[in-house]
């Protein structure tokens, strides 16, 4: 992982021990492997701003993240698709923050609102981390606190003479079915974005695409040239599928214009629309 410099401010359980990450160093050594996804990386970058997450400069944060991705590309580190999608979103956010609010009509949340959403998500993730630390440092059974070592009975309100948990049942079933299926499996290494990959990413992004977002437009620059076509094709196909399911809406203002995506609106509010879908996704 990244260069370690700073010291632990908070005493942490050893479960949490891991190399400290420093990002304020311009010659940052990049290893995404140590991060639990793009949000984790963002949170780390945000912490380095040393302010309350509510008052964080999202613009600065977006820039740092984009720089990070940029330098990763320079040293030819392959970034997982998650990181690229986040980069695309942040690039979009950045453009929204930089360009003054125009008469955008029904364009939904402003850059500021999107920034607030991001800050909220970072804050929530951090809160969950802290909660996890507090939880794991409690007096735990079998470590700090002990049960009767020589129990004399097991209290059960037995309705059945047999015992099994739902977990037992499900894992038995899953193993069994897996056993039957495994013979037909061929493992292939893919260099393409499968439809499933794209769908997965898009679905996950749905939570973040509150408003019309030209995601692909922003995503493309972050893809290695050889991946662009496959990624675009799968993302487009997957988005059509999501539109059909009402989970996504698409809009394109004209041929060769960026394709805008947004989350499907709740039933009854608007009907899923598919506007001006052109075949040319560039």
């Amino acid at each position: 992982m990244a260069v370690t410099t700073s010291q632990n401010a908070i005493p942490m359980d050893k479960l949490w021990q891991e190399p400290e990450r420093a990002a304020d160093d311009p010659a940052l050594v990049i290893d995404v492997g140590g991060f639990e996804g793009p949000l984790d990386l963002l949170l780390h970058l945000a912490r380095n701003q040393k302010v309350d997450l509510a008052r964080i400069s999202v613009l600065a944060l977006a820039e740092q993240y984009l720089q990070f991705v940029e330098s990763a590309r320079r040293v030819r580190i392959e970034l997982a698709a998650d990181y690229l999608v986040m980069a695309a979103w942040l690039a979009y956010l950045k453009s929204k923050l930089l360009i003054p609010q125009q008469a955008r009509g029904d364009d939904g949340p402003s850059g500021e609102e999107m920034a607030a959403t991001l800050a909220f998500r970072l804050k929530r993730l951090e809160a969950m981390r802290e909660a996890a630390t507090r939880l794991v440092n409690r007096n735990r059974l079998g470590r700090d606190v002990f049960a009767r070592g020589a129990p004399e009975h097991i209290p059960h309100r037995v309705q059945s003479a047999y015992d099994a948990s739902l977990y037992d049942l499900l894992s038995a079933y899953a193993n069994l079915r897996q056993r039957g299926a495994v013979t037909q499996v061929t493992i292939e290494k893919r260099k393409v974005w499968s439809l499933a990959d794209a769908r997965n990413l898009l679905t996950r992004m749905l939570g973040e695409i509150a408003d019309w977002t030209a995601l692909q437009h922003y995503l493309l620059p972050y893809l290695p040239p050889e991946d662009r076509i496959t990624a675009t094709a799968s993302a487009f196909a997957a988005s059509l599928e999501l539109v059909r399911e009402g989970k996504l809406e698409m809009r394109q203002d004209g041929a060769f214009q960026p394709i805008y995506l947004r989350k499907g609106q709740p039933l009854g509010t608007t009907k899923p629309v598919l506007q001006a879908v052109a075949g040319d996704v560039d």
Binding site: R143, A147, P155, H156
Partner: protein, 238 residues
């Protein structure tokens, strides 16, 4: 500490089979024996079945709890169950190296915390909070440890499975109930447990974590928000 056996305690109605009424002290001794003899927490219902009809089990247990409070072994309540456990402050003497509790990966711990604080929660919601897919086996580890379980399915399109914690989770982390999760109130107050609404966009709706039945209720406003079916942008009129 040592109660007199032939004291003048009030008598309880005897169970039908019994011929003599049982003294409170006797009732306490039985409850104590039942719980002490077990390594697992003993459900209060189990005690009720075995104590004379009409016994106020809660009161009996509270008295026992007080009696044991200063001792090296304490009576504790976890969920609706009672257990004897060594006193937490004696950890340093009894702690066994080979007995080190199962180590959890950072990811597993994070997922566990999210499930504990946000339950009932779907896998998609966990991913939304962490911003990353839960790797295969992370949930498996938590289920195998017996801390996490499938709770039910949410009555929303797709009927996603909801996850929650178990009584073993409470026992392992020394919690009497979910309400005792560290920092729960602050998190609730900060709106960090109620969907993805950014502060200032909407008033966070506090989630009643203890209401286990809520899980299977018809769709609520809360569910919709959690699922992202109501966009924060939708309430932009604030």
């Amino acid at each position: 500490m040592t109660p007199d056996e032939d004291n003048d305690q009030p008598m309880l109605e005897a169970d039908e089979g019994e011929t003599e009424p049982m003294s409170l002290i006797e009732v306490e001794r039985i409850a104590e024996a039942l719980v002490f003899a077990s390594a697992e927490p003993v459900p209060e219902a189990f005690l009720s079945e075995r104590l004379p009809r009409g016994t106020d089990v809660g009161a009996v247990m509270r008295r026992l709890m007080e009696a044991y409070a200063p001792r090296g072994v304490n009576l504790i309540r976890t969920g609706d169950r009672w257990a004897f456990r060594t006193a937490a402050d004696l950890s340093f003497v009894i702690r066994k190296d080979e007995n080190e509790a199962k180590k959890l990966s950072r990811a597993a711990l994070e997922v566990l915390a999210i499930i504990a604080y946000h339950q009932p929660v779907t896998r998609a919601e966990i991913e939304e909070i962490r911003g990353v897919q839960t790797s295969k086996g992370t949930l498996d580890v938590l289920m195998e440890a017996g801390w996490v379980r499938f709770r039910g399915r949410r009555r929303t399109p797709g009927r996603p499975v909801t996850l929650g914690t178990t009584v073993e989770f409470l026992d392992h982390f020394g919690l009497e109930e979910l309400r005792d999760l560290p920092g729960l109130d602050e998190l609730k107050g900060a709106g960090l447990l109620s969907g993805r609404i950014p502060p200032g966009f909407a008033i966070p709706i506090p989630q009643n974590v203890d209401d286990l039945a809520e899980d299977e209720d018809p769709i609520t406003q809360l569910d919709l928000e959690e699922l992202g079916l109501l966009t924060p942008g939708g309430e932009a009129d604030e």
